[in-house]
Symmetry: C2
Subunit: 156 residues, 2 copies
DNA sequence: CCAGTTAGTTGCATGATGAAACTAAGTTGC
DNA sequence: GCAACTTAGTTTCATCATGCAACTAACTGG
């Protein structure tokens, strides 16, 4: 088969995330959902994407447990797409993407918005990698370890 | 045109990031590069991807300033692909993707590796969103603000 | 200088994407 | 209660992207 490769069975957690989020639209749909959008038409007009693609993406996000369908909150018979906790858990990913753009984009003057904390109105701090004891870590300070195989009961 | 939509001119920094990183392979190539891979053949065999796709992706990453080509460090006449600072700056994105998978994946037992701090061998702390003054922030504690238009000199 | 390796490119089949048209419920005006 | 409109999709078809395999050409090792 000449199918688009899926990373579903991959053992790398990054690949597994990308299997759910790694296309052009999913993270933008999630971004809008975090911003409060819920209805098919809202996503479609805000993102300006084709409705068939949106339809496929929404279904995939629901299948992945990132969005869930719910009866419309305005009393109409239509349904809404709302983020699950798993969906809201992508927030750090979006923040990381945003901060990367803010720091490295070739044309930062074209960036229209800043993420600020609601209380003070000041920009959110840059995400930091820290060790358990609080030390600041660079990529070079980290390494990958094999996850210990989880034994069921006292089998071994 | 029925071209794949590009987010290059979009004013949202997330869309702009996705324009460079938002396909199935680029972040995995960067992951391997962070892990130390440098040569075309290394990427190809490690990722198991078609060589033409790898070729296109590497060129795109170089064009985006994420990778740079350099003469091979082993003295051969071949070239290597090394991360630029902009490329290394994607590390938080990869960590966020990894942690999302670790926290929400339906089959976490299939995840093979853990990111640990090299010194202590202990897992890296979960990325946190914090305000300038250090308060821990949830998505609901944040909001978007329009970036003040940057005036050149004292034009206004 | 010949065999094998490295780093690609080309060709072709197939899958994904996108615009527009189409459909079918649900809602509104009267 | 029904015609007109809105919402939420699905279908169709052209085009783009992806993936495999085969091909090419430069480099390397003996």
């Amino acid at each position: 088969m000449v199918k688009r490769t899926s990373f579903e069975g991959d053992s790398c957690p990054i690949a597994r995330s990308l299997d759910a989020l790694g296309d052009w639209w999913s993270l933008l749909i999630i971004r809008e959902a975090l911003f409060g959008l819920r209805r098919f038409g809202e996503f479609q007009s805000k993102l300006g994407m084709a409705k068939n693609i949106l339809s496929v993406r929404l279904r995939a996000l629901v299948d992945h447990g990132i969005l869930a369908t719910a009866p419309a909150s305005d009393g109409s018979a239509y349904q809404e797409y709302v983020l699950t906790p798993k969906g809201r858990g992508t927030f750090p990913i979006l923040v990381a993407l945003r901060q990367w753009s803010e720091e490295f984009d070739d044309h930062p003057e074209e960036i229209a918005t800043i993420l600020v904390d609601r209380e003070k109105g000041r920009p959110v701090k840059k995400l930091e990698m820290r060790a358990e004891d609080g030390r600041l870590l660079t990529p070079a300070d980290t390494t990958l370890k094999l996850r210990p195989a989880r034994r069921r009961r006292a089998t071994g």
